[in-house]
């Protein structure tokens, strides 16, 4: 991780502002993602957690250029995908084969008028990966098998499947082009509890079999902790902490991470009754007009003058453990 040059995925100062009305000097922007940097090694899973509206999904989508980034630089396996400062934007088509995404809602992300076979096959056609129909069919069936479906499912339509099965189709579609990197955008949050565990195991198996690298986005910290090697915590468009999963859960540094962890209900009555919640007051401020300095200061129990004036620096507090807070040293 410390060796930046060798990182498979390298994101520097990513910024994504969406225009939100106003003209000229009064033009307003939603600061969805602001100054986010991280790296992911090959075969690693980086989890991204945070509350709704914190910019985790936008981060994933911007990397795949589903949104055009407004700032920052993204280097993928040594190739610059975009560098906004240098106005460098690469043609995405060859990279679409290497980077894929699994969407959150398995009901909305599959075309209801296409058969499952065609949904999975579409990417194969676009990238001309099959020489003839027979080969195309074989790839489709193989992908369906990998995700626990079978050949007879190929001729059915999405509405004939349950939520869990649809999500499997979404994964098969992402796998069809044999990508190296997959952005998993809350792939399990729409599913029933008993199905979630099946999916998590499947993601782990696929990673091992196909050597995949994941950016795993979710708001469920327990699930993210289970699947990720490292976790990044986002708040209102900024990354506030990034560390090894076990380290992050057991020794969180940032006050937001601390309260986030304490807010998770533990499925064990005795522990749940003993555990103390660090209750956060109020709601997340609007990303249209985020607080000055540290964006968490309006809800932070330790906030003072300095937090309002200066944006805390993103720094490596301990080896591999990054955070951005003025008060880290005082908090222990």
């Amino acid at each position: 991780m410390s060796d930046k040059q060798n990182s498979f995925i390298q994101v520097e100062h990513l910024q994504q502002y969406f225009p939100a009305g106003g003209f000229g000097r009064n033009k307003k922007y939603i600061q969805a993602v602001d100054d986010v940097s991280f790296t992911i090694s090959k075969g690693e899973t980086l989890g991204l957690v945070g509350e709704s509206g914190c910019g985790k999904t936008t981060t994933g989508r911007t990397l795949l250029r589903l949104y055009e980034p407004t700032g920052g630089r993204f280097v993928y396996d040594g190739n610059v995908i975009f560098d906004v400062d240098k106005k460098q934007f690469v043609d995405m088509l060859p990279y679409r084969k290497r980077m894929q995404i699994v969407f959150q809602d398995p009901y909305a992300s599959l075309d209801p008028r296409m058969t499952v076979g065609d949904i999975v096959g579409e990417a194969i056609d676009v990238h001309k990966m099959a020489a003839n129909k027979q080969e195309r069919y074989e790839i489709i069936i193989e992908m369906l098998r990998r995700v626990g479906l079978n050949s007879e499912h190929a001729n059915r339509y999405p509405h004939e499947f349950s939520g869990g099965q649809r999500q499997r189709v979404g994964i098969a579609r992402a796998l069809a082009v044999r990508p190296e990197f997959i952005v998993c955008d809350e792939p399990i949050s729409a599913l029933d509890v008993s199905i979630q565990a099946q999916m998590i195991n499947m993601f782990e198996d696929l990673q091992e079999e196909m050597g995949l690298t994941y950016l795993f986005i979710a708001h469920d910290l327990s699930a993210v902790k289970h699947i990720s090697n490292r976790i990044g915590v986002m708040y209102l468009g900024r990354m506030v902490e990034l560390a090894d999963s076990y380290e992050l859960i057991t020794r969180p540094l940032h006050p937001y991470t601390k309260s986030l962890i304490s807010a998770i209900p533990i499925a064990d009555p005795k522990i749940a009754k003993e555990s103390k919640r660090i209750a956060l007051q109020g709601d997340v401020p609007s990303p249209l007009n985020p607080p000055s300095g540290c964006r968490f200061r309006t809800r932070c129990p330790y906030a003072d003058e300095k937090c309002a004036q200066e944006t805390p620096k993103w720094r490596e507090v301990e080896r591999g453990h990054f955070s951005a807070c003025h008060h880290i040293d005082k908090l222990d």
Partner: protein, 332 residues
């Protein structure tokens, strides 16, 4: 008069859809004393919401109660006319719905909607109702109640709206509050605030709560008793300790095993429940969980197991446990 506030006996409820009869509730018995918190957990379609709604007389067409009796606070709910039902609904028994975005009326002010409940059920004047609405907003932790009363739902955040929903539900100091996945649509830190508020209000006002959720973490921290539902049946019922530390039914065991724990030290592989949830149009004969059960026996596929009592309040419906208990009885 029964000793219970809520006493549902052998409730059967079916939805007569064009595709056939869906037995949404099949012999459901649930009881609850005053001031207790009951958690109902289960997957989507297991009948947890239908049970609670039928207690309020809110069964939607084409649903129909076809057997059993429902008692609430001395009233036999299933025999009441709509007019009688309207008197207790919102008064002695209230509900908080899952989605605070859609359950408030967007064209009326917050004040209007809280006052509606008060004016309907008490003989307070408009002025008194407004005062009471202000009190209620303060009670649920909303500051500047004067300003809020004049605001519309879209001006409030998700967490605030859910607080308003709670204020409406508590307007007439109900004896029973039904909370249908009250925090599923909210972020974890907001969820923690809302759950804390509910427990606080329970202590202050002494009402009973039925908490419907699929999150085992939520029930572990809140509930005295837990009913686990699967395919329209209560397959296990007991105290929180019974369910979490001494689960008997294979489904309950599987459910507890399959959730990733945030406090797990090593990376352990999750043990999911294999298979998919029951198709309620064509439920299997015998035990509905049998096709997914690891310990499935021949009899499970033929006949529904009877209720096996395991002490005071703990009971389950499983052939395996029935067999064990019978062997124990024979040994004595």
């Amino acid at each position: 008069m029964s000793e219970y506030l809520v006493d549902i006996k052998n409730e059967r409820l079916s939805f007569f859809t064009p595709a056939g009869e869906v037995k949404a509730l099949n012999d459901v018995s649930i009881h609850l004393k005053e001031g207790e918190v009951l958690g109902i957990v289960g997957e989507s379609g297991s009948g947890k919401s239908v049970t609670a709604y039928s207690l309020m007389g809110l069964t939607a067409y084409p649903g129909k109660l076809i057997g059993g009796s429902l008692y609430f606070n001395g009233h036999q709910v299933d025999q009441m006319t709509d007019k009688e039902m309207r008197k207790i609904r919102g008064n002695e028994i209230s509900i908080i719905f899952q989605d605070p975005m859609t359950s408030l009326n967007p064209v009326y002010t917050i004040g209007n909607q809280i006052m509606e409940a008060i004016l309907l059920h008490t003989d307070k004047s408009k002025e008194q109702a407004r005062e009471r609405a202000k009190e209620l907003l303060e009670l649920v932790g909303i500051n500047e109640p004067d300003k809020r009363l004049k605001q519309y739902p879209h001006e409030l955040s998700g967490g605030m709206r859910q607080r308003v929903m709670i204020a409406i539900a508590l307007a007439c100091e109900p004896k029973l509050l039904i909370a249908d996945e009250p925090t599923t649509a909210l972020d974890v830190t907001i969820q923690a605030q809302i759950l804390e508020l509910m427990m606080d209000l329970k202590k202050k006002l002494g009402m009973a709560i039925i908490m419907i959720t699929h999150d085992l973490g939520v029930v572990a921290s809140m509930c005295d008793r837990i009913a686990v539902m699967y395919a329209g049946k209560v397959i296990e019922y007991g105290t929180a300790d019974d369910i979490f530390y001494n689960p008997k039914h294979q489904y309950t065991k599987g459910l507890i095993r399959s959730i990733p724990r945030i406090d797990a030290k090593e990376h352990e592989r999750l043990i999911p429940i294999e298979g998919t949830p029951v198709d309620m149009l064509n439920p299997p004969k015998g035990c509905p969980f049998a096709p997914r059960c690891e310990e499935c026996m021949k009899i499970c596929l033929r006949e529904m197991p009877p209720v096996t009592d395991l002490g005071d309040v703990h009971y389950t419906q499983c052939w395996l446990i029935q067999k064990e208990e019978m062997e124990k009885g024979a040994a004595k």
